[in-house]
Symmetry: none
Subunit: 273 residues, 2 copies
């Protein structure tokens, strides 16, 4: 069974004429980048002419050059999204749990695409006390919304978790305006009810902060800030762990920003018990 294009090439490289073989070798040499460049660049790198490159990809079974490039990109996408290809680091005791390893990878990847500044911006918005904060989640992610709401509600007023039936929180739209923030958690399979809700909130000028997966919920169209977490794990379910950690990080950042006001508020709450 031949799965990757690289295998396909090394399989047929023996039957190729000299020029095409040079093309194959240069492609394998720094795979797959050369194949993503233009035909002219590819041919220059291989030291052959453009038609030779085209004959080369034709021999591999592709109808035209763009089709060949698309195949390379798909392959690269699969490779980049599943860090399984990454050599298992022997440091962590190795055969711990593939589930754990995947989760740790997801978190690293998620934060790699999340700059400190971006997190700071979002935290600043959440800490901005001129408006209210609403949180809501989907079928499996609503607990994350609850978790975040439970913490935020302690350090600042006007934090509301939207729970229950759709009709209930839809009516809460009337309370929302430009100064308010709506935090939405929505991963595959995206819920239409949430999309509708987000759209209406957006129309009212509400600032939306979206927690979603790397395939981006349609709500990203309306969102001011989008946090794309990795969710792929060797399980029947997707993992929300990366989003959970981002949420915790934000909770910490907001707490730090509100330290002055927040500390007093916490003390007041303590004395209420």
């Amino acid at each position: 069974m031949i799965s990757s294009i690289a295998e396909l090439i090394s399989d047929r490289i023996g039957t190729m004429p000299a020029g095409e073989r040079r093309a194959a070798q240069t492609l394998i040499a720094n795979y797959p980048l050369t194949g993503l460049k233009t035909v002219a660049e590819f041919s220059a790198a291989a030291g052959v002419s453009s038609p030779t490159i085209l004959r080369f990809v034709a021999r591999l079974g592709f109808q035209n050059y763009p089709e060949f490039q698309s195949a390379l990109q798909d392959e690269l996408a699969a490779q980049l999204q599943s860090p399984a290809s990454r050599t298992l680091d022997p440091s962590s005791g190795g055969a711990a749990s593939p589930m754990l390893e995947a989760t740790l990878d997801n978190m690293r990847e998620t934060f790699r695409h999340l700059s400190d500044k971006q997190l700071a911006d979002i935290a600043a918005r959440l800490a901005d006390r001129r408006g209210k904060t609403f949180l809501i989640g989907g079928r499996f992610t609503d607990p994350l919304a609850r978790y975040m709401a439970a913490h935020l509600a302690i350090i600042q007023p006007d934090v509301y978790h939207l729970a229950g039936q759709e009709s209930i929180w839809r009516d809460r739209l009337i309370d929302m305006g430009k100064r308010d923030v709506l935090v939405i958690f929505d991963i595959r399979r995206y819920q239409e009810s949430l999309v509708r809700f987000a759209e209406k909130a957006h129309q009212r000028g509400v600032q939306i902060i979206l927690f979603t997966d790397q395939w981006l919920s349609p709500i990203s169209r309306f969102a001011r800030h989008v946090i794309a977490g990795r969710t792929a794990v060797p399980s029947a379910w997707d993992s929300s762990a990366a989003l959970f950690v981002v949420a915790e990080t934000l909770i910490g950042a907001v707490t730090r920003q509100l330290e002055a006001a927040g500390a007093k508020r916490i003390r007041d709450l303590e004395s209420l018990r």
Copy 2:
């Protein structure tokens, strides 16, 4: 110092207009593949027009689109040629977030003290369908109970999350017996109400599975299985992320064990929508 284009983007994403921000988000979401495609494909993926994409790359400082693509390819080349740089480099990615590093450490430590056999035993008990499963959590951990309940309830019947006021779930004790399982989440500061509840359930012979922190909730006295997660992070709050990951791992394990029966159940549920 800004080294990668991804950093450059997340650095300036705050100052971008809405359309360009959507472009930036879709690019970051599955970086860097979208940037290697044509302008038309990029714009379609982001849901904006072609000129917006071009304005986006112009704002990043590139003279034209091909130059932008070349930069992405160079970056990808460097990344592919040295795969060692991706795993655990304390230089660039390491200093990202001390919060993240602490969380990752917590998870590794948590799983280090958690044997495969122990996880398998707990999963087996959760998958045992002779009794009912109840889940409950504390002030901040109740969302974890909800999260776990949301998944377990799909693959098997008789899964109940205990919510609301104490008096409500206290009355549910009457439904609990020897064959039943009670999953409790309780971290500092431990809630008396939960301890009381756990004790009564224990007296009724209920099997208790406890998620707690490394200092062990007093409920551990009554628990059949104890999962001690690390919670220390550089924040004003404790982190429940490690417990969250254990919960997800268990969800996956239970799902696998119930695969035969569970798969049918999932299909039935799908057809109900």
